[in-house]
Structure formats: structure tokens, C-alpha cells
Amino acid sequence: MNHKAAVLEVKGLRVSRGGAETVNVPSFSLFSRETVALIGPNGSGKSSFLLSLACLLPSAEGDIFFNGELINRKKLTEYRRSLAMVFQEPLLFDTTVYKNVASGLIFRSVSPQEIRKRVESSMERFRISHLAERSARKLSGGEAQRTSLARAFATSPVLLLLDEPFAALDPPTRKNLTDDLALALRESEIATVMATHDQFDALYFADRLAVMQKGAIVQMDATFSVVKHPVNEFAAAFAGMENILKGSVLKAENGMFSMSVGNETIQVTGVRLPGEQVTVCIRPEQITLANSRPDRLLSGQNQFLCRIVRIITLGLYSRVYLECGFVLVSAVANQTVQNLELSHDGKVYALFDSSALHLLDG
């Protein structure tokens, strides 16, 4: 991706709000046709970062380069006319759907014929042509967000900033709109930055993920890399690694170490020094369950006799919550639950390989 010129480049971006630093991003680049998802917990600075990318936060410091050109006060309106931003709330104007979709073009003094052409095309793309003359105040949540997206796309932006655009929608509406937006993005050259804390949205849209924590991007990489090698607890939880275990290294040799977690000892593949505090994580589906202790324990394999705290059935699989001296969650097929006759307060062995444990930084 880096062989291409960046559409957007950010250098030394800092934002302070109410005396506290909310964004501190030394560098960030975005390329044409790519989507970067900003993920992070509430208050991690995702929205502030998006707003500062649009030069909408007066307190932001730093340089923003759009197509290699530094954005200054004089170029602000011109720059904003190259981008579009969609917020969590649709923020429609108190007029018809048609006029809402046309508003960005009216600001740009586009000719009426061109406005008609582009508005109709954008409304068609987001399947709201039949709502053209309806008042924006009389739309459902999904229709309103469709209108907001159509308004953004009508301006043919080079850069699209999405601030949790589906957060307020119910699941079926969300699903339909997600598909339409994905199609619209695929058919365009638009570079997109999307703030979200929804795992599905991020994985569905993003070419790259940027993990934000306390205003800083702590990890930015291709989506699969972040999912496979998360750097912190949030990214790990986001990637589905629900079992996060903390402890100190007891012994280390031959590329492996043992660590104490609760009253138990776990074998982990990796290099750490004795006494060091470490955090490891593992996906629920990487923990297998057995009724009896295996005859022969493989090198690096962990096994614990656990008490079953709770079993939750979710469609084709079940989540089994275990107390093993520390808490583990295992995801197994419903058939396995039946075969092993798992039940609340029963005993079961939990097995996982030392190499399945992922070490988190810091």
C-alpha cells in the first residue's frame, strides 16, 4: 500500500479539550480506495481524531496534508469540500430528503442540472429515491442515516469520515445499510476512515485497523495482523480473545516460560525473563474440553481440572464458563456439550497449547 501517494497525511496531531490531551497522533496516512477503521473504547479519542482530520476542532495542532498539500486556514473550505463526514446521528436539515441530499452541492454552487443528476444518482444508490419529497423529520432511523450517507456521497468526496454511522440502528436495518455502504465504497475511489467499536463493522469494512487508546494510536496494521497479533487488552478483546490472563514469569527456558496465574501455572511459548509481569490471551475456541485427563501430555500443553460455572447456548455452539483457579471461557459445539454431558457445577478438563497463547505487549 505504501508505494502509492497518500491521500491524507497527518503529522504531529495533538488535540486538547478541557485542559486534557484527547488526541496525540504523531503520524497517520491514508491511501486512495482504502478503509481504515479506528477502534477503541469510549473516550479513546476516535471522534476527536476524526473531527481533527476534517479540521473541525479549533484546538487541534499539527499538520494535515491532503494530496501532498498542507492545509492552512485559507484552504480550509476548499479542503472540506473534498471530504464528507457522517456522524452517528443523521443530523439532517429540516427540509425534504431531496434538499438534504443536495445541500453539500448547493454549498459548492454546483449548477442545478448537475445537482439533480448527482442527487438522483446518490438517492438511487442508497435506495431512497421514493422518499425524495418527504420531510426529513418524518424518516425512520434507517432512512435518515441512508439520507445522511446519500448526502455525503452526492458530493463525490475524495475522503469519507464515518463516526459510528450505524451505532444507533437496529440489527436488520444496520445489516442492509452496511451492505449498501460497502457496495458504494467498492464502486468508488474514496479513502475512508471509520470510527467504530463494533467488531463486525471493522472487520467487514477495514483494510487496516488503527487501535486507539487514550488518544494515541497504539497499533495500526492490516486488519488480519491486528486480529492475529493484538498489542493490548482492548485489541485482544476486540479480536475475540476473551481470555486475558495476567501473571508473573516463574521460569524461562528454550523459548518457553511458565507463569503463575491465580494459584496455577501456565506454560507459554515465548521469551520473557523470570519475575517479569506478563499478560497473555487466548480465544475461547482454542480451549478444548475433555472428561478425563489425557493419557500422555504433550510438551507445552496446559491442562486444568475446572468447575463449570455457566453454559450459554448460542445457536450452533455453546460458551462454557470455567473456574480453574482463574476464569476461562471455552467455545465448543453444542454436540460436544451433549457428548461430554457438561452441566452446571460439573467438572471438566480444559486443555490448550502453549503456542495458542498470545503475549500482549507491555
Binding site: L51, R80, A84, M85, F87
Partner: protein, 232 residues
């Protein structure tokens, strides 16, 4: 009750005969209060918008002062304007005391905080990200302000109604700075007060009824515009 009935009959007669004095007083009332409202709408909407959009120290204090001024007693305004325009006052060179111009100034001072206060409240009640959304759509600052005012138009119409209602019905300031001079500064409210003090209740009722009618017609028109917008 007879007094009231006689008053209504006289009022009706004055109205259908298009009494010249009643007509002149009504027209002057509309001119003075209409102009004062117009000026206060210009100042109030501009001032209110600037107050909401700008960030400066003392902003909350200013908003509190504006809100307090929404209830300015007309007699206090009348006293202040009279002192300013009095023969020894700082603005005596204008020589406009006891003229319709002085009445317009006094009524503008009364109506401006009302329009400003309602403008501030209506703009602040818009979604907090609306301004950012407008700018992100590529609007210039002037376009942004215009759209915000359009978005708040229903509440602003209420502000205009409140401002006009406040000045067309006030008597204290008009009598103090206008002097209730027949054929020159006499308006519906001052005429009503004068006729009442002279015991001419029939004429006082006639002026009072016309005042109510004028208020009703103008507010009815503005309310229709407002409700039409709301239901659109």
C-alpha cells in the same frame, strides 16, 4: 356591565366609521412597534448567533444578562432613554425626545433582549454537532450561519412574536419618551391610558379592543407561518 357594553358599542361605531383619530393612532402604533421589532430582530438574531458561535470569556455572564434583560421594565427603559435624550442628557443634540423616533429607540431596547435571548436558546437547542456537520458538508461560515438560522426558524418566529407583543403592548416607555402628543406620538396604549384617566371608558375600550385585534392579527399570521413550517 353597562359600561363595558357601551364601550363595545362605541368601539364598533368608531371602527366601522373609520374614525380618523383611531386610524392615526393605530397606524402610528404599527409603525413604531413594527420598526422597533424589525430593528431588534436584526440586532437580536445577529447578536444571538454571534454569542452562540463565538467562544469568549464571560459568555455565560453575557447570556445571563441577556436573559435577565428579557424582562426589562418598560418604565425603566423609558426613564433611561428620557435621561439620555433630555436637554442636559448626553444625547441631547439629537433633539428627538417626544418624537416617534425616541419611541422606536425605547421599544427597540425592550424588544432586543427578548429576540436575542430566544435566538440564543433556539440555536443552543440544535444538535451539538449540527454546526460541524454543516461545515463538513463544505459550507462557508456565512452559509453555516444561514443554515443554523434556518434550522432554528420556528423558535425564532416565536422570538419575533414575543418581541412584537412586548412592545406593541407596553405603555410606560412610550408615554415617557413620546409624551402622548395627539396626532404625533399618541399610540394605542398611551391613548387607552389617557382616555381611562379622563373617564372616557367607551373610547378607552375602543382603543383597547383595537390593540387586542392588532396583536391577534399579527400573531395569527406569524403563528400560521410557524405551524405551516412545523407540519411541512
Amino acid at each position: 356591565m353597562e359600561l363595558v357594553f357601551d364601550g363595545i358599542v362605541t368601539a364598533w361605531q368608531l371602527l366601522i366609521s373609520l374614525d380618523q383619530e383611531l386610524l392615526a393612532v393605530t397606524i402610528l402604533s404599527l409603525k413604531v412597534s413594527g420598526l422597533a421589532t424589525f430593528i431588534s430582530v436584526l440586532i437580536g438574531i445577529l447578536g444571538g448567533t454571534c454569542t452562540v458561535l463565538a467562544e469568549f470569556p464571560g459568555k455565560r455572564l453575557l447570556i445571563s444578562l441577556v436573559n435577565t434583560s428579557m424582562g426589562l421594565p418598560p418604565v425603566v427603559v423609558g426613564l433611561f432613554v428620557t435621561i439620555m435624550l433630555w436637554r442636559n442628557g448626553p444625547l441631547n443634540m439629537l433633539d428627538i425626545l417626544y418624537t416617534p423616533t425616541a419611541m422606536v429607540i425605547a421599544q427597540t431596547i425592550i424588544a432586543t433582549p427578548i429576540v436575542t435571548g430566544i435566538t440564543i436558546a433556539s440555536l443552543q437547542s440544535l444538535p451539538s454537532n449540527m454546526k460541524l456537520q454543516i461545515l463538513a458538508l463544505g459550507a462557508s461560515r456565512i452559509q453555516m450561519v444561514w443554515i443554523l438560522i434556518k434550522e432554528a426558524r420556528l423558535a425564532l418566529l416565536a422570538g419575533i412574536m414575543a418581541g412584537f407583543g412586548g412592545v406593541i403592548s407596553e405603555v410606560g416607555a412610550s408615554i415617557m419618551v413620546g409624551g402622548n402628543i395627539k396626532g404625533y406620538t399618541r399610540v394605542l396604549t398611551t391613548a387607552t391610558v389617557m382616555e381611562t384617566s379622563m373617564g372616557n371608558f367607551d373610547k378607552a375600550i375602543a382603543f383597547g379592543l383595537v390593540l387586542l385585534l392588532v396583536c391577534f392579527i399579527i400573531n395569527y399570521f406569524l403563528t400560521r407561518v410557524q405551524q405551516k413550517e412545523r407540519l411541512r
